[in-house]
Subunit: 453 residues, 2 copies
């Protein structure tokens, strides 16, 4: 076969995994340990540079995956004929034939801010099931958490009044990445997406302005930029007009004449190039009261810079720097097996053993501190962030609306101390490790079963 | 609705677009210019930092999209009920009902190296069709070209003998991004992917090793790391063993005893942490002849650094830094309409007008220079890189195999002058603009139809 089919079906996703998840599962079957109870936790060890927090996102897709997990006869046949499993035990295939996820899942709600070393999710399930879901869970939570965090930072930089539009589809890493970016961005407080499919699937109205090509096309065929504005305005009177194709100020002057003459009701203009701070001030003075949208590789730092420079910008189109860039690198680590705490400690990549809970302490509505402790510890006027979302393979909660998630993001970011919200060099999070967890970590380190030395 | 469905159907893709592509098309219909012949070219104006070239990739998916483009009655109804198009002409809907792509496409073959300002693709079609496909074409070509370029650079840094494995699924930006990354990486010369679904869809064998979780699970339940190695080796005797869970050197020593005793035939080991140069040398001295794989946030620069430090590494697992990071930011610009050249010139974002061709001049098998000229110019012992791939909506070529694309990538990268292949501060490309194109650019600039000043 020479190219990937565009189609992606839910039943494809069980093979959307690294080969070793399947080979390791076959090994577990061969050793008759595949049903031992295992707990894996998904944690981000180090945040992207200049990030003081993460906004958890992607749980809805993760749970949908777990609900639908199964292997079709065709998939099993494809694995069998690959030859890779020729020494694997036959019982591996009967396991796949009837596979479904029967475990428990604990997770932090979407829209909640979390810090490095805090688990976003824990899977407690038969070892082979908990193993096999690793790749997909990391894929969905890593990506949507990245986008949600960027979106929340951009919202924080732009202020609550600004209109923030997600324009990233052309720069997103595949069509599905565009859809998921739109979802995560809306869940983290952006107002709308330009992606029509994403908007319709999410029950939202897509948003957009116009492109240079329309201005150029109508200017070429009908004689002037103003003809382009007039034509587009005729069919889409509410859409902002893009005024930087030739000369931004000249376009603003011409539009101002029409507005003053009462022949045009202008709902907004967009500027996509040039010195946005200065141009937006000049446009504002010519078109008072008309919303000004800015776009062009903008991110949270540029938004803050523009606001600091006194730019007159009411809305931002956010694309490339929202949907690409340095990733969130979550890992998914075995922390308990058969009731025994487990940890990896090679070369500084330490993970804390045991099933854990994040106990969050608030003071006057602000996050005072987080305590990373064991699930068996009791909260002490603290909010436990990890909540059960799956019990014995059954979903416990109905899916939240995107509006509820966006509200949680807003409240959660607002509860952060200022030094963690900073865009540059945020402070380390107020995270303490509980005495019980420290003790368990020391015990596990000294009791590790496989010292080779 | 509260979450995106996991399903992606080919018929969904017509709405995988920015809203303004649809509103502008409706405006073209209203102005009766929707069938004017338009040419758009897809070009990367500026390469990511330290990139001397790009490897074109993603054309197969772009063409599949164009072949399948259509709007279903349900999609049209969804657009109609959105309210956004309430002032749009009725004829827009009849256009969508019978929509299919009827234009011509010229493109650079996948696996070809190109430089900034060289078109990767040109669409020549009725204006509204050429407009509406922008978002999707940019999405697929931007992303796969990025991945192919990174993969080609990693191959170039690692040398032709190294085994390069694509391990990026958990860090890719959505499941589909993982599939497309695997395709692009294989097309640019990587040997295999760990993504089972991608490998099976591409007719390849998936590859993989084992994870720390298996070592920890078996060490916990059966007593030692060596039990884990023995067990996994029993079912997958060809798979490399991961030896850095506890103590890399101790693990290598234990394996060496088994190899020397003749009780183990070792096909490879993997090291995922620590000082890979020193550890690989120490492991090589203990396990001579055993292939050593390295992984852990590796990229082309780290591969070059490891080789420079005398690392004994035979293969690399490449993930995060292959599939994420700074994007390729292609743009899709109107260059000709109704036979008239068109250009945008605002604020330094200049695009050359007219339908163009890249004329590549080779000397002794090396790229001597590229000439960006008009499609009407004749090659002068040069190779024209843009070839017709679609004619009046019909595909002209059958799809290429991934092996053929990988071979072209290899030859194409080998034809680059050394100063362009450098990983740091590569030279600017030997690109000249033809006299005819310069003249047309000047003419178009002075003849622009919409001077507001």
């Amino acid at each position: 076969m020479t190219h990937l089919e565009l189609t992606l079906q839910p039943e494809d996703y069980s093979l959307l995994t690294d080969l070793y998840q399947l080979t390791m599962s076959a090994c577990y079957v061969g050793e008759s340990i595949e049903r031992r109870r295992a707990s894996f936790e998904l944690t981000v060890r180090r945040l992207p540079e200049n990030f003081g927090y993460l906004v958890a996102m992607g749980l809805a897709q993760a749970l949908e995956y777990l609900e639908k997990l199964q292997f079709s006869p065709a998939q099993i046949a494809a694995l069998q004929t690959s030859g890779i499993f020729s020494h694997a035990p036959d019982r591996f295939w009967t396991l796949l034939e009837t596979a479904r996820f029967t475990g428990d899942v604990w997770a932090v709600s979407e829209g909640t801010v979390v810090f490095a070393n805090e688990p976003l999710l824990r899977v407690e399930a038969p070892l082979w099931q908990a193993q096999i879901v690793e790749t997909y869970l990391l894929n969905v939570l890593n990506y949507q958490t990245l986008i949600a965090t960027r979106a929340a930072r951009m919202r924080d930089a732009a202020g609550p009044q600004a209109v923030l539009l997600e324009f990233g589809t052309r720069r997103a890493f595949s069509p599905q990445a565009a859809l998921w970016a739109a979802r995560a961005a809306l869940g983290a407080g952006l107002d709308a997406t330009s992606n029509v499919l994403a908007a319709l699937q999410l029950g939202r109205q897509p948003a957009g302005t116009m492109a240079h090509s329309l201005v150029m096309a109508l200017a070429t065929l009908q004689g002037s930029e103003m003809e382009a504005f007039t034509a587009f305005h005729r069919y889409f009177p509410g859409a902002p007009l893009l005024i930087d194709t030739y000369n931004t100020i000249a376009a603003a002057d011409q539009l101002a004449q029409q507005v003053e003459a009462g022949t045009l009701t202008l709902e907004g203009v967009r500027i996509d190039s040039g010195d946005l701070a200065i141009l937006s001030q000049q446009v504002r003075s010519r078109l008072p009261g008309v919303p000004i949208f800015a776009s062009g590789d903008l991110d949270e730092w540029k938004i803050a810079e523009l606001r600091g420079a006194g730019a007159c910008i009411d809305g931002y189109g956010l694309g490339t720097r929202l949907v690409t860039g340095e990733p969130v690198n979550g890992v998914y680590k075995l922390v308990e097996l058969d009731g025994r705490p487990v940890m990896k400690e090679a070369s500084g990549k330490l993970t804390y053993p045991g099933r854990k809970q994040i106990f969050r302490c608030f003071e006057h509505g602000q996050i005072h501190s987080d305590r990373l402790g064991l699930i068996t510890e009791m909260p002490n006027h603290e909010q436990p962030l990890l909540q059960p979302v799956f019990k014995q393979g059954e979903r416990l909660q109905s899916t939240e609306t995107l509006e509820a998630i966006a509200e949680r993001t807003s409240v959660s970011v607002a509860s952060l101390p200022a030094e963690l919200r900073r865009l540059q060099c945020p402070s380390p999070p107020p995270l303490e490790i509980s005495a019980s967890l420290l003790e368990l970590t020391n015990q596990t380190r000294h009791a590790r079963p496989s010292r080779n030395d």
